[in-house]
Amino acid sequence: MFTMKDVNETNRMIEENKLDIRTITMGISLRDCGHPDSKIFCQNIYDKITRTAEKLVKTGEDIEAEYGIPIINKRISVTPIAIAAESCRTDSYVDAAKALDAAAKEVGVNFIGGFSALVQKGYTNGDRTLIRSIPEALDITERVCSSVNLGSTKAGINMDCVREMGEIIKLTAERTKDRDALGCAKLVVFANVPEDNPFMAGAFHGVGEPEVTIHVGVSGPGVVKRALEDVKGRDFSAVAETIKRTAFKITRVGQLVAQEASRRLGYPFGIIDLSLAPTPAVGDSVAHILEEMGLESCGAPGTTAALALLNDAVKKGGLMASSHVGGLSGAFIPVSEDAGMIAAIECGSLSLEKLEAMTCVCSVGLDMIAVPGDTSAATISAIIADEAAIGMINNKTTAVRIIPVPGKKVGDTVEFGGLLGYSPILAVSKFKSDDFIARGGRIPAPVRSLTN
């Protein structure tokens, strides 16, 4: 039997330290929806999503009420539209994005991911159509999220796509400039993308996934921070052990919710994503965990080591607590969604370059980075190339979600609202990479031994 102390500890984690289930994400295959007529295809995907996910939101709310654990988001990921829509005779997939948006609204989920293409080795016709459709799709829809995988350890980096994505991000920013380039907050560029990630904006339902599946993403930076307060001044063995124990407890709750959701909805459980996902709320910050380890401000020397320990200990603790782990599984460092990161940028301790170093040791990458509106497409492409290279060489997922905010410069602030938070504009190197990006072609896949 558990004790009164156990009950109070769990409820303190939930109420004071903001332990929550960040998302229940239903992955739905759209591979059987293809049709040469785009209208019929759109009807097919709308019908399939609304039929399959009809009870998703209500089930999430029931579990939340019965177990007393907040479930913040209910979401859907679908087969990459570049694959599902490829047989349509059309030169734009914007209508498919509208159908996804309408389906998301109908079933009541706040985001739907999968307006995506996988082009690490090269483009198919569907991939080209999808990528060209991204700026308009993210402008006119509200809940659709888009992602493009342009590199992997086994395929190398598609530098033609790196160049194109710089331009696509600029176009998306321009089209949504009346909303501070909000469209770019719904667009992620990946290397080594996981096909079962439940977190937005990068979620999609990979081609090796079953017909329908239930993934759960847990969270709880505040719980880890609180636990570390009890080992102040102790050595790093104690720090790692504390994080592992905490991650275990958090993940057990995720596993319970995932099994319960899977049982009630009648679809198989996929994976638990063991991530520490911050929110802008006070007490829900990854940066504050790093500072609790003894850093004056996130970004100070030692930050990369602190993050490496945190990321590894979260995995070690979480792995034993869950039957299947997948997705991104690691600490997230999205700048605008983390109060501690925002403060670190504002006080000058954290820069784009330090963030890049941090992405070498954690999931996922340069996430929710607001940069000046006059940052060139080539510079954005070059930042993407650097991140993709880190992912490719280190055999890990890396991503870039960067927002060049039209009309804003360093010193300004941009407000995205809700879970997306707000951010000061980060400084970007003024030195040009235009000729580097203009080359195009492919960076070959790396050698996997001689790893110095």
Binding site: M4, D6, V7, E9, T10, Y67, G68, V253, Q255, L256
Partner: protein
């Protein structure tokens, strides 16, 4: 199905009476009660059996939550599994 009821708030006369009356009316059986008062602060954890209950867990949570709020108490009703999985391997 076993359920955990936690009650936290300023101590006063009639807290246990109010809660146990509602449980009796709804055929919810009390299995265990742990309670203490620290500096005037009331803290109680009850384990109850709802297998014969004539009310759903969700509705009981709503009912006790509302009644508790009227007395200045924070009352939560939760399925026991969330505590079991977190604290027992």
């Amino acid at each position: 199905m076993k359920t955990v009821i936690t009650i936290v708030g300023q101590d006063r006369v009639g807290i246990i009476a109010m809660v146990s009356n509602i449980l009796a009316e709804n055929n919810v059986n009390i299995l265990n009660i742990n309670q203490n008062i620290l500096e005037g602060f009331f803290n109680m954890v009850m384990l109850v059996d709802m297998s014969q209950a004539i009310i759903s867990l969700k509705d009981l949570g709503q009912l006790l939550g509302d009644k508790g709020a009227a007395m200045g108490l924070d009352i939560k009703v939760q399925h026991e599994d969330i505590f079991r999985v977190m604290h027992r391997v």
